[in-house]
Symmetry: C2
Subunit: 292 residues, 2 copies
């Protein structure tokens, strides 16, 4: 199995700990709640992707870590809100009680909101760039990826589709926006901060789209085939909620084939970026190999 870039993950973990206030200030419960979800583990897939994409274009982790961590803040906030009783009503996340189970629904809503604000605060305070315009560029990309034409839009279609028969086209729409868009943004931000050209940014975007779709299809597959230990949450939750998933729509085997297609496409695009893109190939391989 392709190894996950653990060194990079470790560096992201350290940066998150460095940026997040070490001491909970008043009102403490808010910071505790934010911290609880931000440091609940996870692969740090998005910030890792930002860092390894930056490396393809010769930039060190240090030069992109504020932006990378901001994207993880946003991913974390979206999980807190998606788990809420009014939405997915999940009790367990990464093997722990969900944020609202631990802190109450009101605090969970506010912790999500606060993490979202802190994401833009982090970038605007700490992200460096050769040209300030690039900082505005990454903020624009991340805001677009998080908003109604991105993550939130995908989540709303997901909510509206739950329990209903939907087309493969709609499912692709959901996945492309709910998870794909922020994954693409993570790669794009790493590339632009590292000085990638417009052509290279376009290539990175194509890579991100394939990777994001592969990632989400394998997530759907794992929800069906994984154990509670592997998932950190109750497997089969998607089925119980009558969520639209690839296995539900096209079956397990066809889902695996589609995930494999997307991974192959991601690797082919990464190859166009040359030898330095080996880490992007490795990450795509890691994604597909999760499903066994």
């Amino acid at each position: 199995m392709s190894p996950y870039p653990e060194g990079v993950r470790q560096r992201v973990e350290e940066a998150l700990a460095e940026y997040f206030p070490a001491v909970d200030t008043y009102p403490e419960i808010l910071y505790q709640s934010m911290r609880y979800s931000l440091f609940a583990g996870g692969k740090r897939f998005r910030p890792v992707l930002t860092v390894i994409t930056a490396a393809v274009f010769g930039a060190s982790p240090e030069t992109v870590l504020p932006c990378a961590c901001a994207i993880e803040y946003i991913h974390t906030y979206s999980l807190i809100h998606d788990d809420l009783p009014a939405i997915d009503n999940d009790d367990l996340r990464r093997g722990l009680p969900t944020n609202h189970k631990k802190f109450g629904e009101d605090i969970a809503i506010m912790a999500g909101d606060a993490l979202f604000a802190e994401a833009f605060s982090l970038i605007s305070r700490l992200q460096m760039a050769s040209d300030q315009r690039k900082i505005v560029d990454v903020i624009r990309e991340i805001a677009a990826a998080s908003g109604p034409a991105g993550m939130v839009g995908g989540q709303v279609v997901d909510m509206a589709s739950t329990g209903k028969p939907i087309s493969l086209e709609t499912l692709r729409f959901i996945h492309a926006r709910k998870t794909g868009r922020l994954i693409t943004a993570a790669a794009w931000c790493g590339a632009i901060l590292a000085g990638a050209t417009d052509d290279e940014l376009e290539t990175v975007t194509r890579y991100g789209k394939h990777l994001g779709l592969a990632f989400q299809i394998t997530d759907d597959i794992l929800d069906e085939t994984g154990s509670v230990e592997e998932l950190g949450k109750t497997p089969g939750q998607d089925q119980t909620l009558h969520k639209a998933t690839y296995p539900a729509l096209v079956g397990l085997e066809e889902s695996k084939r589609l995930a494999c297609d997307e991974t192959t496409a991601a690797i082919a695009v990464a190859n166009a970026l040359g030898e330095s893109a080996h880490a992007l190939r490795g990450l795509a391989e890691f994604v597909i190999e999760r499903t066994g």
Copy 2:
């Protein structure tokens, strides 16, 4: 009574209509829900403040409207989330059913999230500045004003204080963060985009703090003395919820005195900015005169 700057409000209204997508795209319900709250009326107090502060330093409305409208997006999102059943559980806002009453709790949470994302999208796409650094500056200011040390932090302390006896110090903390911080940011952003010096920014910040506190104390007073027509919501709601307010803590007369003190202080600070700051004096007078 000092007239509210209706011409400026009208210009803000037009800009909001111009920036917000004219046609609801898929998923339509999300855009409908965002639009419902964004165009539910309101004084547009924060963006008006941004525009008139910019004018003090010689800048036209056009040069600050994206930033001004982004602040109104954030104010609107905060109202949607504050009204949620898990938080204030309000049914009525500006004379209309609250967002979750109209669209459901799940959509209301997402509409708030989407407006927050769109705020940063709007600034990063459309805000112009002589120096890109100023755009990063306003994003940093607005993110800080919205986050755990600003609006969200104030809301959390407000939630934790509801139904409990609290000190005047705590009430000041709540007001300074929950409403005061974003009002101060609105003035600060107008000033920096218009080219104010550091000293002028400091003066504008002091003005914003006094104005924000005067605004919130008069809001507390109006909740007690206003009619449903004046308020667009059920009066006495704060009392019913056992919310901490100035009248509840120090009585109506002392509240009016404190609001008057803050207004006087705001006007004194505005005077230091010279003749061009007449609109800032006028806005402060408008705030205090709301209470009759």
